[in-house]
Symmetry: C2
Subunit: 554 residues, 2 copies
Amino acid sequence: MIRKLLLTIGLMQVSAVHAQDAPIAHDAEYYILEAQHGEQWAEDDAAVDALLAEFQQKNGGKPPNILSILVDDMGFGDMGIPELNAVRGYATPNINQLSDEGMRMVRMYTEPSCTPTRVAQTTGRLPVRMGMGDTTVDISGFGLPGNEVTLAEVLKEGGYNTSHVGKWHMGDVAESWAMNQGFDYAQHAIHQQGQLTIFHDDAIREQVSVGLADFDPVYTLDDLFRPDASAMVTVVEGEAGGPVREIRMQAGERWTAAKYDEMNQAFQDKTVEELRRLAGESEPFFLQYWPMIPLDNTRAGRDGPDSPNGGLYADKMQLLDTWVGDLMTELKTLGIEDNTIVILMGDNGHFTKYAPQSGFTPMIYRGGKGDTTEGGVRVDAFIRWPGMIGADTMINNIIHVSDLFTTLSRIAGADQFIPRDRLVDGVDQSAALLFADESKGRRDHVIVYSISTPKAIVKDKLRLNLPGPGESPILAEFFDIFRDTHEKYPVSTEVGAWGGQEFVRILGRHMGRKEKYPDGPPAYGVPYEGIENLRPESQSAVEAFLLKRSSVEK
Amino acid sequence: MIRKLLLTIGLMQVSAVHAQDAPIAHDAEYYILEAQHGEQWAEDDAAVDALLAEFQQKNGGKPPNILSILVDDMGFGDMGIPELNAVRGYATPNINQLSDEGMRMVRMYTEPSCTPTRVAQTTGRLPVRMGMGDTTVDISGFGLPGNEVTLAEVLKEGGYNTSHVGKWHMGDVAESWAMNQGFDYAQHAIHQQGQLTIFHDDAIREQVSVGLADFDPVYTLDDLFRPDASAMVTVVEGEAGGPVREIRMQAGERWTAAKYDEMNQAFQDKTVEELRRLAGESEPFFLQYWPMIPLDNTRAGRDGPDSPNGGLYADKMQLLDTWVGDLMTELKTLGIEDNTIVILMGDNGHFTKYAPQSGFTPMIYRGGKGDTTEGGVRVDAFIRWPGMIGADTMINNIIHVSDLFTTLSRIAGADQFIPRDRLVDGVDQSAALLFADESKGRRDHVIVYSISTPKAIVKDKLRLNLPGPGESPILAEFFDIFRDTHEKYPVSTEVGAWGGQEFVRILGRHMGRKEKYPDGPPAYGVPYEGIENLRPESQSAVEAFLLKRSSVEK
């Protein structure tokens, strides 16, 4: 190994600079792997280039379309495996078919909740790098900075038409919104299901919310304490450089469970409409559809298809499956089935807080949304590209959601537009995908953050859950995640004795790299600024928020 | 439903007496379902009869051969699902193929450990009915009573040749052994892996055992305290009515890890040999192969195929898979692939006590071997019968391992030999299997015992974990096992308020039925009696056992 390492160090410059002037700046561990595998990677890169060129030649000189379907709060095993459908008591036949027609990325790691995962896919960077690790529910006055270079911006530079429909959840300040972050067109919610399924009258009636407005206001001194879905901006729509407007809400109107269903149906319908529009253009397209089901919290007179499980979660899972099936049918109808990459995956583990009502509980891995254990960050993930990515295949190497940024940019022939002035965490996994060869993966670890604190390190099959402040690293627990998916039985002290110091070094190198590429803040600003038709109640809610924010300055 | 119930009560006699003089006596819940579905069941029975007759006609007038492969201590999801192979970091391609060629019985329930599960399959009765709920490790002086009517005896009456190879573990008294319980030929261990992989010198050297003989004996007053694998009888062989001999051990010889491997290989080889012999006979055959892998506990210089997981468990899983593949190939070579039913399943959940070393940890369900939670009693279970049971099918209705007794007897055309003088827990599931229709199942509940105490009741999707003595049933926890496979989030109090009383009634009916059919004791006796070549050290071990047993009488 040492000899191989010495031999390849001389090739590092060549292999790292793939068809570009300057290499992408990665995190420290990348260079340790590159020193060992750079020569092979250079060969693989050439083979990938040849494959992509061949595809483009057959596809009228164009790279493939890309459809990203990112689903909320679904744990590993919820989709794509008929046997586990049976365990859960519902069926996802369309998604299972998508899985059969494509590849399962078994070890796809996300961030532990919605916002950071979406940021990592969008920017190719760990959310901590621009202070976007937190998932907020109501008005927060910050968001993804405009100076981040998004996947949409990279692909736009590469000649793509870009469109986004559904969830966004990367901030309530204007510069963070999709139409201001590289998308030609966007229709998206500003907040998330916390606002849209919890902070409204139906949820209060069903006692999904603890109280809110359903008690005698005489005991309330602070009317600004609790959020109200109807006062927040719900869904906005706009084009790049154009005006942004809230849609489907009138001044004084109350947000309801029925409106939530209506919104979801509208997102689905809009996605079909966008597919049709984009398929008619001469440029390739990048379409993000980030649905806001299956996560839901109120029943309020709803009904779903029958299943052995029944209930809200199963209903919405089966609805999601139907919608995914409809999109796949649409791709076929439009004749773009073979030149469109479809990526379907979850954004983090189950939202176990709602477990009793909904059935969002972990099966295979420990923990759920918000947890930095495997169950928080392991998701079902599929990629389908007929003829290019083997049908019914799996790869079991580690992939982080940020790798999609780099890999899709590469596949789109747009990786020269990935910025070189900042650290990019996402590595190029195209060789592993295209050759369905897990040994061609370019990552063997992830560092799992909770907001801004590293909480766990996974390296090949070992996982160290980092001790908290004041706890001894000697007693930190190591797990073998093949043998113990629920992180219950720490592996032997020998692994700890060696692994402890080695994992501390991994963390040290990761932190050391921040000296050259320091973490920055998110974009702070006035919420909802620039929305043309801001409702008076939303304006009041913004004022209440600003009052609270300024209270610390008194 | 009430109307349907009233309509069908008049038909109960007809539907219960399927082609026999007297109906099989079942537990109370059966009659509640029969009253609701008897008419449909009568129709289904006629259709099953027609299918079986058609098969026999094509098969030279004979019912199918039956090969039962019962594997030790494997939790749900360990076999048959490529995605979960990847999660575990090993591959079982041959077993996965068997799954693809047959049916997965998703809700197969066993008993929570080795002995009771094997008793339930063998007798069609809950082990508590003859005091066989306990799993012993060393010399115990009891076993399955000779007056139990075993599946082998029923099939023998029905014209089958019968053979058993591998684990047995239903007692160390002669009347309990396979060659005395309906098998024409048997070669089996008397005890189990506790003896064969823990109580020997290699295990002591590896510190698998805590101490045993590796400390200064000056501190040992009681030399009879600890067991010694070499002093116990290991594997016996014999024919029905003939002498029984211990094989592959000489007087004074020490049992070792190497001998354990040798024994397992010999079981596999003998199974292949038996398949060849039995295939050449004119009668159909019933062959049980109950391997003693993957469970193992010592490494001692062993090596296995490479896998991402590595280690003992993965090695042995892959070895098991190879062996299953070899048996399937042999079936094909012998031309009996299509007229042989193959049943492959686990006998209970993971042996979590050995988790840190081995990787025997639960993935999907809570708990392992010995636990009465789902993880203790839910296993992978496959049945393959080409042309009769649909390839790549699943059924999700509840099946208990005792149902195999009744169902296989029926399929073999031997159900008239099922005794009518005792309660039989196993119900006939042939319609569900042959029509791959889970709505045709004839059981919607299981009562899970730990040794002799009912600990849980599962009825359709609900599970009640029974409160212990002195605990209020009002606080007993209900779980929805589709929504919450790890039994972590009890379902709402409404279910408890209704379900509590209803589940108490289920238990009451079950206990009430024991007035007519009371539980009996196991067969007590002198261990190893009748073994022709009993080694002196085994004789001494028996004497030590008898001394201890008689000590309570002083």
